[in-house]
C-alpha cells in the first residue's frame, strides 16, 4: 500500500524546469531512496513534500491527504518528519531539551500555553526523552550544550528528535553529508535499527553516497534534469543503462 504519492509534479524557477512531470509512489514501511546527480531536482522535490515549495502542477498526497499548500508544522503533525542535510537542532539548548520540545509538541499540538507546569516535573516526558537518547547512544550527553556536539552526534540528535514524534514518514535529506566514513557507517547502522524497531515507519532518503543508498534502500528512484528516469530495486538499478548515462555521461 502506498503512503506517499507524487503525481505529475512539475516546478519551474523563472524558465528553468526544476521538476518535470515527476511520478513516484512510496510503499508503506519501505525505505525509498531518491538519487541523482547535482541539479537533478531532488531537493526541490523534497521541498514540495514538506510545504516549503508549492508545485506549479501535479499532486502530492500523504495517506491520501493532499500536502499542497499545507504549512510545514501541519504536515509534521500529520506524521511527516524531516532530517535536514545540515542538522537543524536547537543549538542554544541542551541535548535533552532538544528532544523534550518535539515530545511536548506531539502531546500538546501546535500551541498550548502551560506556563504553570515545570519541565522537570513532566516525569513521563523526560523519561521518554531519555529513552530516545539511549536509543541513539546519546544518553551520556543529555546535559551537553547541543552546539558543542560533533556533526555525527548532531545528526543522531536530530534523528532522535524526529523519532520522538513517532512519524509514519521520515524524510532524510543527505543524512550522511559531510561525515567521515566511520560516522557514515554508524548512521547507516542507526537507520537500520530504526527500520527494524519501527516496522511501520517509511523512509525517503535523498542521498549521493551510493554506499548508504545500497545499504538501506528497498527501492530506488533515479532522477536527472528534473525527471524521474527509472525506479526499481537496488540490484536492477546498479547496472541500468539510464543510470550509467545519468551518472557517467554514457561512458
Amino acid at each position: 500500500m502506498s503512503i506517499l504519492e507524487i503525481r505529475n509534479v512539475s516546478k519551474r524557477f523563472s524558465g528553468l524546469k526544476a521538476l518535470d512531470d515527476v511520478n513516484i509512489s512510496v510503499a508503506q514501511g519501505s525505505v525509498h531512496a531518491i538519487i541523482g546527480p547535482n541539479g537533478a531536482g531532488k531537493s526541490t522535490l523534497l521541498n514540495c513534500l514538506v510545504g516549503k515549495l508549492v508545485p506549479d502542477s501535479g499532486a502530492v498526497t500523504f495517506k491520501e491527504q493532499s500536502l499542497l499548500g499545507v504549512k510545514a508544522y501541519r504536515i509534521n503533525q500529520m506524521g511527516v518528519a524531516r532530517v535536514f542535510q545540515t542538522p537543524e537542532i536547537f543549538f542554544d539548548l541542551t541535548v535533552l531539551e532538544n528532544v523534550l520540545i518535539p515530545l511536548f509538541a506531539k502531546r500538546d499540538g501546535s500551541f498550548r500555553m502551560h506556563a504553570y507546569e515545570t519541565v522537570e516535573n513532566e516525569a513521563q516526558i523526560v523519561e521518554e526523552a531519555e529513552t530516545l537518547l539511549r536509543d541513539v547512544n546519546m544518553a551520556d550527553k543529555r546535559h551537553m550544550h547541543s552546539a558543542s556536539l560533533s556533526r555525527g552526534d548532531k545528526r543522531r540528535l536530530e534523528l532522535a528528535m524526529c523519532l520522538s514524534q513517532r512519524p509514519e514518514l521520515l524524510l532524510l535529506d543527505e543524512p550522511t553529508a559531510g561525515m567521515a566514513r566511520a560516522d557514515t557507517n554508524n548512521t547507516i547502522e542507526l537507520l537500520r535499527q530504526i527500520r527494524d524497531r519501527r516496522k511501520n515507519i517509511t523512509m525517503v532518503i535523498i542521498e549521493h553516497d551510493m554506499h548508504v543508498v545500497f545499504s538501506l534502500a528497498d527501492r530506488i528512484t533515479v532522477m536527472a534534469q528534473g525527471t524521474a528516469l527509472v525506479e526499481d530495486v537496488p540490484d536492477k538499478i546498479k547496472g541500468h543503462p539510464k543510470v550509467q548515462e545519468a551518472y557517467l555521461g554514457g561512458h
Partner: protein, 399 residues
Amino acid sequence: MLGLNRRDTWFLLIVVALTLLTPFLLQPFAEDSALAQFNAGYPDLMQRIAIYGIFAMGFNILFGLTGYLSFGHAAFLGVGSYSAVWMFKLLSMNVLPALILAVAIAGLMALLIGVISLRRSGIYFAILTLAFAQMAYNLAYSVLTPLTNGETGLQITLSDPRILDAAATDSLPVPSLFGLEMNDAAQVEVLGRVFTFSVGYYFCAVIAILAFYVSMRIFRSPFGLMLRAVKTNQTRMSYTGLNARPYTLAAFVISGMYAGLAGGLLAAMDPLAGPERMQWTASGEVVLMTILGGAGTLLGPVLGAGVIKYFENIFSKINENVLHEWFGALPGWLETPIVGLIDPFVGEGWHLTLGALFMLVMIFLPGGLMEGGRRIAAAWRRRRARRQDGGSGSTAPAE
C-alpha cells in the same frame, strides 16, 4: 515549594531577602561621610528600581526568551500609567483596581500590536513596534488630548468623581491600599543610622517579587522552553509541528502586561501620566537595562534596571563643586585636571558614564553583568579546586 525545585526556591528566597532589605543595602554609608553621595536608600529611587525591574523582567520574557527585539514597549508603560490615573479619577484611589485596569488595557493593546507586528521578525519587527509606540506617543501628546491631557499630562483633581471614595477632601488624595497611603514612610534608627521604610517601596517590592516568581515559572515551564526554541531555530520548530506565532504573541502580550503593571505602579507612586513616558527613549532604556544585566537570565534585567536607575539618580547629582570637595586635599595643579577629567561624566553627563559602562560590558561581557558574575564564580571555583588539588597533592603518599 510553590512549584519550584530546591535550587529555585533558594534563589527566590535570596531575591526576596535582597528586595526586602534594600533600604539597608542601598544605604551603606553614614550620612556625614564623604561617600554619603552614593547612598540610594531613599523611597523614590528604590520604587523606581523595583518598578523598572518589573518592566525589564517583562521585556526579558519577550526579548530574552524569544529573541524578538521590541523598540516600542514604552507604549505599554504609558498606557498602564494613563489607565491607572483614569481609575484614580473615576473609581477610587485604591491602587488595586488601578493596577488591574493598567494590566488589562496594556495586555489588550499588546495583543493588537502583536498580531500585526509579529507578522515580521528581526529588524522589521523592531521597526514596526517602534512605529506603533511613536503613534501612541503622538496620540497621547496631541490627538487624544481629551483622554490624556496632552503635553501637561493626566493628573487627579479635587473635582474628579471617584465614585467609590465618597468623602470629599480639601487636598488632593493620595493613592492607597485600603487606607494605607503610598507616600507614608517611617524612619527607623538602627545602630545610630537612619533608614527610611516607605509603604510605596514595600508595595512595589511585593509586586516585583510576585512578578519575579511568575517570570521564574514561565522560564521553567514547557511554554518557556518553547519560547527559547523560537529564539534558537524557527525552521526546526516548524518541522517539529509547532507554530511559532501563538508562542511569540503570548510572550508579547505577557511582556506588554508587565509593562502595563510597571506603568500602573509609576502612577500609583505619583498619580500623573504624561506622553513622555511613551517616548522612544523610554523604549530604548528597557532594552539597555535588559542587555546590560543579561538578556535571557532571570535576574539580569532587574540588575540592569537597578544599575541604570542608580546611575541616573546618583551620578546625575554629582557636580563640579562635589568633585572639588572630594579632591580638595590634592594640590591645586593636580585637583583641577582630575576634576576636569571626571566632570563631563557626572551631573548632566551621566549618560556618558552609562554609555562607557554599556560599551565595556558589551565588549568584555556580551552576556551582561550576569555573565560577569558567572565568570567570577567559575574563576573562584577553579581556584578553590586548584587549592584543594595542591593541598591533597602535598599529603598524597608517594608511589
